[in-house]
């Protein structure tokens, strides 16, 4: 029942996001122009990454407490989709940056720290690929996953706020939230975050299910 209703919610929320995201009224701001609508497509990728990585870390804790391989598969599946979201967030952010900040990559503090965060998670999969023995792989990568998640929070939410940044909301640059994100935009933005994140959960669950089927057949 729950398994079905979240999929229905995903479909409704993502469709709503796309339609309302393109058509709903937005504040008319210089430089940003219509690209302010990227708030519904670029920003939820990073919110989604954060939530998916938190779920992944939660499963890593569960693995370390129980040593049941299902939790290892879940941790890796959620991190995989989280990394996909992060990569998409990075690419969409670069396109957005080119047309508003003037360059694909301005070495903005938040661009740099989020690139480091993605590299940390790419390393998680390199690490996973380097073991022959399943239990050793699960245990060491679970510990590494917790380390990566602990680094993710300062990299995305603390360090960029400590210096000036082109990103809104960082280093004395108020931007979105205070003046730009009006109540009409909130009506699309929050469903967008929930919708894209649930889509990520759905994708991760499919990955886990495929893995489960393999193990049974072996």
């Amino acid at each position: 029942m729950l398994a079905r209703s979240y999929k229905i919610a995903t479909i409704i929320l993502v469709l709503y996001t796309i339609v309302a995201g393109f058509l709903s009224p937005v504040p008319a701001l210089a430089i940003l122009n219509e690209t302010i609508r990227n708030l519904y497509f670029h920003v939820p990728m990073w919110f989604g990454l954060m939530i998916l990585m938190a779920v992944s870390a939660w499963y890593s804790v569960k693995y370390l407490r129980t040593s049941e391989s299902i939790y290892d598969w879940k941790a890796s599946a959620f991190a995989e989709v989280g990394l996909l979201f992060g990569t998409l967030g990075m690419l969409t952010g670069m396109v957005w940056a080119y047309f508003t900040w003037g360059d694909w990559w301005s070495a903005d503090p938040k661009q740099n720290t989020s690139a480091i965060a993605l590299l940390l998670y790419f390393a998680y999969f390199v690490l996973r690929g380097s073991f022959n023995e399943d239990q050793q792989k699960a245990r060491i990568s679970a510990v590494y996953n917790l380390f990566a998640f602990a680094a993710l929070i300062p990299l995305l939410y603390i360090l960029p706020r400590m210096t000036d940044s082109l990103h809104p909301g960082n280093g004395g640059n108020p931007g979105f939230g205070k003046y730009d994100l009006d109540n009409t935009m909130r009506l699309v933005f929050y469903p967008a975050v929930i919708g894209w994140t649930l889509l990520g959960v759905w994708m991760a669950n499919l990955q886990v299910r495929i893995r489960q089927n393999t193990e049974v057949h072996d």
């Binding site: 995201g21 219509e34 996909l84 990569t87 690419l91 396109v95 047309f99 889509l199 495929i210």
Partner: protein, 63 residues
């Protein structure tokens, strides 16, 4: 006469600059609307690519 020609010549670069600012730049048309289109295309391409990868993985395991 000379004054007129001179002032036209002097003004020409200013007028030309004001008019030539508009370049063939589709993504900046209509208030940069197509940047949003590009964004959603990237997101959907990534998600569909992942779907293909999952599909192939599921097919491989059935054998």
């Amino acid at each position: 006469m000379i004054k007129k020609v001179l002032s036209t010549l002097l003004l020409l670069p200013v007028v030309a600059q004001a008019q030539s600012a508009q370049m063939a730049d589709a993504l900046r048309d209509n208030g940069k609307f197509y940047v949003v289109v590009a964004t959603i295309v990237i997101v959907m391409a990534g998600i569909l690519g992942y779907l293909l990868y999952l599909d192939r993985k599921a097919a491989n395991k059935k054998r």
